[in-house]
Amino acid sequence: MKNNSSNPAKVVCDMTVEANTPLGQLYGLLALRADGPLPAISAGQFAQVRIDRSKTTFLRRPISICTADAASGRIELLVRRAGAGTDALLACEPGEKVNLMLPLGRGFSRPAKRDAKALLIGGGVGVAPMLALGLELKAEGYAPEFLLGARTAADLLLLDRFEAIGPVHLTTDDGSAGTRGVVTAHARLQRPVDNIYCCGPKPMMVAVAKAASRIGASCEVSLENMMACGVGACLCCVEKTTKGNVCVCTEGPVFNINQLTWQD
């Protein structure tokens, strides 16, 4: 049984590293190019990256797509060093091939209102899908704002790219940039917001979800449960939802907070 569509929704392919730009000690931005066009990619979707450089990395690593230009076959991945797999990925040199499965999962929805006040909240490496979403929303005529949080100023990534899209509000744990403290303490959340989109460490997303409920904003979060297959076959990455355990890789990684059981 072949997929009936001549353009499958998902592909597995070798992509060429066009650039690998270190962003401080902990992060890097990988620019990758496929030999031809890629299937349509929407913000919030992810790639499963095979790490051939690391002998101890057995499974692929799910990495959120930071920017995509499917027609030209180009994507960018923002990577944080989290272990041998991501270390090896960040050691890739331009010209090297990396094997990816993409695009996987479901991305972010759109605000119900064209003039919605959309606030995109990213923490640490979780800013990656917020850049993709900000670019898409702006291109579609929305006016997204960003609230980005990190431990220190050095962990605030790709700021110039966000500032080119819309207003950017910042928080850092140590006060080295923006407001000192967590994103949920930022004054922007005291003013009206219709739609919140969030990706970051789970404690941050839980706090944002609570804040969204309090102010009556619609809220979607992107989860990063550990995965094996990435296509809904192994049932390893499940999240408890109002419909029971569901695969984050296929039902998510983006969920509306109403689907989750975080506030039970």
């Binding site: 998902k10 057995f58 192994c234 049932l235």
Partner: protein, 301 residues
Amino acid sequence: MARLSVNIGSLQLKNPVMTASGTFGYGPEFADFMDLSTLGGIIVKGTTLHAREGNDYPRMAETPSGMLNAVGLQNKGVNYFAEKIYPGIKDCGTEVIVNVSGATVSDYVGVAERLLDLDRIHAIEVNISCPNVKQGGMAFGTTAKGAASVTAALRKAWDRTLIVKLSPNVTDITEIARAVEDEGADSVSLINTLMGMAVDVEHRRPCLSTVTGGLSGPAVRPVAVRMVWQVAKAVKIPVIGLGGITCGRDALEFLMAGATAVEVGTANFLDPAVSAKIVDEINDYCSRNKIADIREIIGII
């Protein structure tokens, strides 16, 4: 092109390569990446009489050349399979085999009886070897008596091909294999996962919510090949080999050790098209070595 078709009881496979239960969903999950009809068969997710939510997250841990899982048979039950999934996969161009699980013998029989309604299901694989459920599962598969009781009951209820999937977590797997053969099983498949455990030392807790889980992947392959070889010598029914197969060479290792067919499992997570490639690689091997019929090399060790 060599002749690759093999028989497992009355089940005819166009080639000896199937995908292992729990690693390939129901098939359509992989249809973007490969042509499902190139496979010998697809063994779908473990199916129980009633829906099961499975175990709590985390259910998976990466290990050297493998992984531990503790999914715990999450599935929506046999009626959901029959009504919602089967219609979409029955014409996928390859054999669809249902992996059957239960907590009691009557659970297993209930699933099989429901599957009798589905004409295109020519075989079931009976899971008496799941290490991740508290009741049933491996409890049946670790004694000859338990394995025999499930097999005997299913033999009465199911007149199509009956494959029993064996646990490696036993002292002598050939004893269990002989017990299910004696009760009328058409085939045995082995190995299910090896029970294992991993600890997150930074957080000082088990990696899995269930503490222990099932180890799969290339790490287990030599154990699996050894057990397939032992069982193939001990029984007359065909043996299906699985455990860490990632390429044609690995599959051939099992065939030579005595397996009539193989299942590809964890490797599907690494390369979603690997099972189709394995069929091609077996074909290439036969061409290079002037093998006209795959059966020439089955069990030559």
